[in-house]
C-alpha cells in the first residue's frame, strides 16, 4: 500500500532548479534507496519533502496532500528526517537532542520512556547523555541524529547519506539498526546514498537520480544486473 507518493516534484534554490519533476513512491514497510552522484539532487529531494525549501508538484502522505505543509506539520503528520552530515544540535547535550526530536509530542512521560529506550538501543549514547553532541564521534553523532528523528514516532524516515564520512564498519552497524527498525517496527525508510553497496542489501526498491531526473528504477537485483549502473554506482 502506498504510504508516500510524490509526482512531478520540482525544487531548487532561487533561480536554480535542481529537481526537474521527479516521481517517487514509498510503500508501507519498504526501504527505498535513492542512488545518485554528488549534485544529482538527493539532498534537495529530502529537503523538499520535509518542506524546508520551496517545492512544486504533488506530495501525498497517507492519502493526504502535504505539498503545501510547513515543516512542523510534516513532522506531525509522521515524516522525520535524518539530515546530511551530522545534523545534530552540537551545543546541546545528547539527551536534549533527543528531547528536541520529540518537540511535536505532548506526552512527557512517553518521551522520557523513549529516551530511555534509545539509550538501550545505543548504549554509547546513554553513557554520553550529558555530553555536548558536538563532542561525539561521527558515528555517535549519526546515532544521535537517527534516534532524534525517531523520537517523533515517524511512519516514514528520511535518511540523507548516513554513511557520509563514516568508517565502513560503523556504516554497517547503522544500516543494521535501520534494517531492524524496518523489520521489527515496520518503519518505512527512504534512504539516499552515494556509495551504495551496503544500502543495496537493505533496499526493497531503488531509484537512480541523475542531474535532477530519475533515470532508472527497479528492485535492487534488477539494477545490480545492469552493467553500466553497476560500474557507475556499485564499483564492481
Amino acid at each position: 500500500m502506498s504510504l508516500f507518493r510524490a509526482a512531478g516534484l520540482t525544487a531548487g534554490y532561487g533561480p536554480v532548479t535542481v529537481l526537474q519533476g521527479i516521481d517517487l513512491e514509498v510503500n508501507e514497510g519498504e526501504i527505498v534507496v535513492m542512488l545518485g552522484a554528488n549534485g544529482a539532487g538527493k539532498t534537495t529531494t529530502m529537503r523538499a519533502i520535509s518542506g524546508v525549501i520551496p517545492r512544486q508538484g504533488t506530495i501525498e502522505f497517507q492519502g493526504n496532500s502535504i505539498a503545501k505543509s510547513a515543516p512542523d506539520q510534516i513532522v506531525r503528520a509522521g515524516i522525520a528526517q535524518v539530515p546530511q552530515g551530522r545534523g545534530t544540535f552540537p551545543e546541546l547535550s545528547v539527551e536534549d537532542n533527543l528531547r528536541a526530536g520529540a518537540f511535536v509530542r505532548r506526552d512527557s512521560a512517553g518521551v522520557a520512556a523513549d529516551i530511555h529506550k534509545w539509550f538501550g538501543v545505543f548504549p554509547r549514547l546513554g553513557e554520553r547523555r550529558d555530553q555536548r553532541a558536538g563532542s561525539l564521534s561521527g558515528g555517535e553523532q549519526q546515532m544521535v541524529a537517527i534516534a532524534r528523528a525517531l523520537m517523533s514516532h515517524p511512519k516514514l524516515l528520511l535518511c540523507d547519506e548516513p554513511s557520509l564520512g563514516l568508517a565502513p564498519l560503523i556504516t554497517q552497524e547503522l544500516f543494521e539498526v535501520i534494517g531492524n527498525l524496518n523489520k521489527e517496527d515496520g518503519l518505512s525508510v527512504l534512504l539516499v546514498e552515494q556509495n551504495a553497496n551496503l544500502a543495496m542489501h537493505l533496499a526493497s526498491r531503488v531509484y537512480l537520480l541523475e542531474t535532477g531526473t530519475i533515470v532508472a528504477q527497479g528492485s535492487a537485483e534488477e539494477l545490480s544486473a545492469d552493467d553500466s549502473i553497476r560500474k557507475a554506482y556499485l564499483g564492481f
Binding site: P83, R86, P90
Partner: protein, 307 residues
C-alpha cells in the same frame, strides 16, 4: 574598605543595567546571528511609555509591566515586519535595518515626548522619573562602615532573580529547548518540527521586554529619562556581551556586572587619569582587549565541530 564596598555596589548596580541590555543583545544574537543595534532605543521607547503611564497616574510597577508588554510587542513586530523580510538577503542588511530602527525610534521619541530633558526639574517636580527602589539621599544601608544605597542592592537583587528565571526558561522549559535548538542548528530545528519563525519572534519580544526593564531601571537611577540616555548604555552593553560571549546569556549578565564594577573602580581610584567623564573609554578597552585575547568571550562558544 568602605569606599571599596560602596564602589562595588554602585558598580553592580550600574552593571545590572548593562547586563539587562546585554541579555537582550545576546538573546537575539544567539537565535538569529543578528546584532540588534536598536536594542537601546527599543528600551528607551518603552521607558518613555512607562513615563507616560506614570503621567496618567498609573503606579510604577504596573506601568513597568505594561511597558515590558509594549516592549515585547515592539520586539515581535520588529522581527516580523522589518527583520524577517530582509534576513533572507544578508545579515548585513539586518544590521542596517536595525540602525534605521535606532534612528526611527529616537525620532519617534522626540516627536512624542519632545527633544528636552524630562523632567525639566526646575519647572516641575512631578516629571521626575521614579525608581523602583528607595533612592533618596538618605536611603542607604550601613555595611561595614560603607554607605550602600538601598537602590543599588535592590537592582542587583532583581537582576539576579531575573537571571535565575531566565536560566530556568532556557534549561527547563520546552520554549527554552526550542530557542537553544534554533540557536544551535536552525535547519535541524525545522526538521524536528520546531516553528523557528515563532521562536525568533519570541526571542525578539523577550529581548525587548528585558531591555524595557533595563531602561526603566536606568532612568530610575538617574531620576530622569532623556533622548540620548541609552547611547552610552548600549555601548557598555555591547562591551558586556563581548566580554561574556555573544551567545551566552549567563556570560552577558556576568560581563555586565564585571564591566560596571571595573568602570566604577577605575573612575573612583584612577580619577585623575580617567574620572567620570572618560569612563566610557573603559568599555572600548574591554571590547578591544577581549577581541584580541579571547574573541569568543568568557563563556561564549567558539564554533568547533568534529568532522
Amino acid at each position: 574598605m568602605d569606599l571599596f564596598l560602596q564602589r562595588l555596589f554602585d558598580g553592580l548596580s550600574d552593571g545590572s543595567v548593562y547586563a539587562l541590555l546585554a541579555l537582550g543583545i545576546v538573546i537575539i544574537y544567539r537565535g538569529t546571528g543578528h546584532l540588534n543595534f536598536a536594542q537601546g532605543e527599543m528600551a528607551l521607547f518603552c521607558t518613555y511609555v512607562v513615563y507616560q503611564l506614570g503621567e496618567w497616574g498609573i503606579p510604577l510597577v504596573p506601568a513597568l509591566l505594561l511597558g515590558m508588554l509594549v516592549g515585547f510587542a515592539l520586539g515581535v513586530t520588529t522581527e516580523v515586519a522589518l527583520v524577517r523580510p530582509v534576513a533572507k538577503k544578508s545579515t548585513f542588511a539586518v544590521f542596517i535595518v536595525t540602525i534605521g530602527l535606532f534612528q526611527g525610534l529616537n525620532w519617534l521619541d522626540g516627536a512624542i515626548w519632545g527633544d528636552q530633558v524630562l523632567p525639566n526639574s526646575a519647572v516641575s517636580k512631578q516629571q521626575q522619573f521614579p525608581s523602583l527602589f528607595p533612592n533618596k539621599a538618605t536611603d542607604f544601608w550601613n555595611i561595614f562602615g560603607a554607605g550602600v544605597r538601598i537602590e543599588s542592592v535592590g537592582i542587583f537583587a532583581m537582576v539576579m532573580v531575573l537571571t535565575g528565571l531566565l536560566f530556568l526558561l532556557f534549561n527547563k522549559t520546552k520554549v527554552g529547548l526550542a530557542m537553544n535548538s534554533v540557536a544551535s542548528n536552525p535547519e535541524s530545528a525545522r526538521l524536528v518540527g520546531i516553528p523557528t519563525n515563532r521562536v525568533l519572534s519570541f526571542s525578539w519580544g523577550l529581548a525587548a521586554a528585558i531591555g524595557a526593564l533595563g531602561g526603566v531601571v536606568f532612568a530610575g537611577q538617574n531620576h530622569t529619562v532623556n533622548m540620548s540616555m541609552m547611547f552610552g548604555v548600549f555601548i557598555y552593553a555591547s562591551a558586556a556581551a563581548t566580554l561574556g560571549g555573544f551567545d551566552s546569556p549567563g556570560g552577558a549578565v556576568l560581563g555586565g556586572l564585571i564591566l560596571g564594577v571595573i568602570q566604577n573602580m577605575v573612575a573612583g581610584y584612577a580619577d585623575v587619569w580617567v574620572g567620570q567623564q572618560m569612563k566610557i573609554g573603559v568599555a572600548f578597552v574591554v571590547i578591544v582587549g577581549v577581541l584580541l585575547v579571547k574573541p569568543s568571550g568568557l563563556f561564549g562558544t567558539s564554533k568547533v565541530e568534529r568532522v
